[in-house]
C-alpha cells in the first residue's frame, strides 16, 4: 500500500521471484488503516498464506499482521523463524518468551517473519529484466480510516557523553556504577 514511489520496491520483489505485484493506491497513515485495506483486498482473492515482515522500519509497531488475521478470521503466527508444509498443513517455528515452539495450522494463515526464515536475495540481471514485463496492478483503496494521529515528533535527550575509566582500574568503573549511576 502506498503511492507510485513504492513501485520500484514492488519491481524489486518481482525481480527476486514474485509473480505478480499489487499496489493499493493510498498513503499509509497507521496500522489500522493499512491492515483494513490489505484485508479488504485479500478477501476478494484466494490465498494460502499472507507473509509480512517483523515490523516497519519507521514506526516499529509489529501491529499489521495480527490485524489482517483478525479481519480475515485466520490464525496469525507472529515472528515465525521457519515455514514448511507437511501433509497439507503448514508447520512453523517461533521463539516466544516462554520458549521455542513448533506449531501447525491447517487452512490459510498470516505470518510475520523473523530472522532465520529465509536468506535475503539480491536481484540478478535476468530477474530484473523479467520483472519489467510481470504484472504490477494498481487498485483503488477502500478509504479505510486510521485509528491514531501523530501529534508531534521529538528527539530523545542527548547523552551527556562517555566517561572513560582507566583500563588498569576497572574497580573505579564498579564504584561509578554503584555510587553515581546507581544501577548495581
Amino acid at each position: 500500500m502506498g503511492g507510485a514511489d513504492c513501485d520500484p520496491i514492488l519491481r524489486k520483489a518481482l525481480a527476486i521471484g514474485a509473480h505478480e505485484a499489487v499496489r493499493i493506491d493510498a498513503e499509509p497513515q497507521d496500522a489500522m488503516q493499512v491492515a483494513a485495506e490489505i484485508a479488504a483486498y485479500a478477501k476478494g482473492q484466494s490465498f494460502d498464506a499472507i507473509l509480512c515482515g517483523k515490523e516497519t522500519i519507521d514506526h516499529n509497531s509489529s501491529a499489521v499482521p495480527a490485524m489482517i488475521a483478525e479481519h480475515l478470521d485466520v490464525p496469525c503466527i507472529a515472528l515465525a523463524t521457519s515455514l514448511d508444509y507437511a501433509d497439507g498443513k503448514a508447520v512453523m517455528t517461533r521463539e516466544t518468551a516462554l520458549g521455542i515452539e513448533k506449531i501447525s495450522v491447517g487452512g490459510s494463515f498470516v505470518l510475520s517473519a523473523a530472522k532465520g526464515m529465509a536468506e535475503q536475495r539480491i536481484p540478478n540481471m535476468r530477474g530484473i529484466m523479467a520483472a519489467r514485463t510481470k504484472p504490477l496492478q494498481v487498485v483503488a483503496a477502500q478509504g479505510a480510516a486510521p485509528g491514531t494521529r501523530i501529534e508531534r515528533f521529538a528527539l530523545p535527550d542527548e547523552k551527556a557523553g562517555v566517561k572513560l575509566v582507566d583500563a588498569e582500574n576497572p574497580a573505579e568503573l564498579v564504584r561509578l556504577l554503584r555510587e553515581e549511576a546507581k544501577v548495581i
Partner: protein, 307 residues
C-alpha cells in the same frame, strides 16, 4: 475511565512485562485484569493496583485470546485495553483493536500526558506523541520502560469469566524452553552483559559468562556472533534481534553499529569496553574503558566479585 489489562502468566504469576502494563492501566483509570488459565493466588496483580481479575479458559490460541480480551472489555464497558508489547502482546493487541474498532498505539514508553501517548519510532532514534482517533483505544507498553509501580501488598479478587471463544486453530507440536542457565530471560533482564566479534571465538565466552555471573546479569550478543553460531539466536539483540531496555548494558568487543544500537539504546546506563577508542559505540555510552577485553574483563569480574 475504565480499562482492561491483558495479563500473560508464567507458572500462575503475571510476567514482569504484564505487571508493568497492569500498573500503567491502573494509573490511567479503574483497571480490570484479564488472564487465561491458572493463577497462583492473584498472580501478583493486586499489588500493582488491580482490584478485580477476570479469569478465562486456559490453553487458548491468539485468535481466542483476542476474543477473550475484547469480550471482557465489552462486559466491563471499558474503552481502553492495555497489554505488554512482548511476543504475545504483538499477537493479540492488533486482534483486539480490530474487534473493538480501536486505534492501536504500540510500544508506549512513559505514562500518558492527558490523552497523548509517547512511543519510540525509528528504532529509538526519535519519539512520537500519538493520540487515539477512535472511541476505543488499545495501548501496548514497552517492557522495562514504564517501570514497576511500588508494591502495595493489596490482593485482587478473582472472578471466572466465560465467553464464546470459537475453536482453536493453531496446534502446538513441540515446545522447548530456551536455556538461560538460571539467569533472567533477556527481555526482562535488568542487567545485561553482551559481547561481539571482538571476542574472537566461542571458546572465549567463559570470560563473558564469568563477568555476567559476577554482575548477576543475563548474556546477550551482537548479530554476527549468533549468525556464525558462536552463541544461540535468542541472545541476539538489535534491530533484527530483540530490543532490550535493561538498567545496565555492558558491551564488550561490539563496534556499536546503528542496527545494534537500535536494540539497546533504551538501556538506562551503557558501558562499552573496546580496544578501539574510535569505536562508534563510545558515542552512545555512559561509561567506557578503552582496552583489550582479554585484559580488562577478568579484572572487571574480580572488581564486581569484590563488592
Amino acid at each position: 475511565m475504565k480499562c482492561i489489562a491483558f495479563i500473560q502468566t508464567k507458572g500462575g504469576q503475571a510476567t514482569k512485562a504484564s505487571l508493568e502494563a497492569a500498573g500503567f492501566a491502573a494509573g490511567i483509570g479503574e483497571a480490570v485484569a484479564v488472564v487465561s488459565g491458572d493463577l497462583d493466588g492473584d498472580g501478583g496483580l493486586g499489588s500493582v493496583g488491580i482490584q478485580r481479575v477476570l479469569q478465562g479458559a486456559g490453553d487458548l490460541d491468539d485468535s481466542q485470546l483476542g476474543r477473550l480480551v475484547s469480550a471482557a472489555a465489552e462486559h466491563e464497558g471499558a474503552s481502553l485495553v492495555v497489554c505488554a508489547q512482548d511476543h504475545l502482546g504483538k499477537s493479540i493487541a492488533g486482534r483486539v483493536a480490530v474487534r473493538m474498532n480501536a486505534g492501536l498505539i504500540a510500544g508506549v514508553t512513559v505514562a500518558p500526558d492527558g490523552d497523548n501517548y509517547t512511543r519510540n519510532v525509528f528504532s529509538g532514534k526519535a519519539t512520537a506523541q500519538v493520540k487515539g482517533a477512535t472511541d476505543n483505544l488499545v495501548i501496548t507498553t514497552t517492557p522495562n520502560a514504564i517501570g514497576m509501580p511500588a508494591a502495595s501488598g493489596a490482593t485482587a479478587s478473582i472472578e471466572a469469566f466465560d465467553t464464546e471463544l470459537g475453536e482453536r486453530k493453531v496446534d502446538i507440536l513441540e515446545a522447548a524452553s530456551p536455556s538461560t542457565g538460571g539467569r533472567a530471560p533477556l527481555p526482562e533482564a535488568e542487567l545485561v552483559v553482551s559481547a561481539g566479534r571482538g571476542m574472537k571465538g566461542p571458546e572465549n565466552w567463559g570470560l563473558i559468562e564469568d563477568l555476567a555471573d559476577a554482575v548477576g546479569a543475563t548474556t546477550a550478543c551482537s548479530r554476527p556472533v549468533s549468525d556464525i553460531g558462536w552463541r544461540p539466536h535468542h541472545e541476539h539483540v538489535g534491530q533484527t534481534g530483540i530490543a532490550i531496555r535493561p538498567n545496565l548494558y555492558i558491551a564488550v568487543g561490539i563496534s556499536g553499529a546503528i542496527q545494534h544500537l537500535a536494540g539497546v539504546n533504551g538501556s538506562k546506563v551503557i558501558v562499552v569496553i573496546n580496544k578501539d577508542p574510535e569505536a562508534p559505540f563510545f558515542k552512545a555510552a555512559d561509561y567506557g574503558i578503552v582496552g583489550d577485553a582479554f585484559d580488562v574483563v577478568p579484572k572487571l569480574t574480580e572488581a564486581f566479585k569484590a563488592l
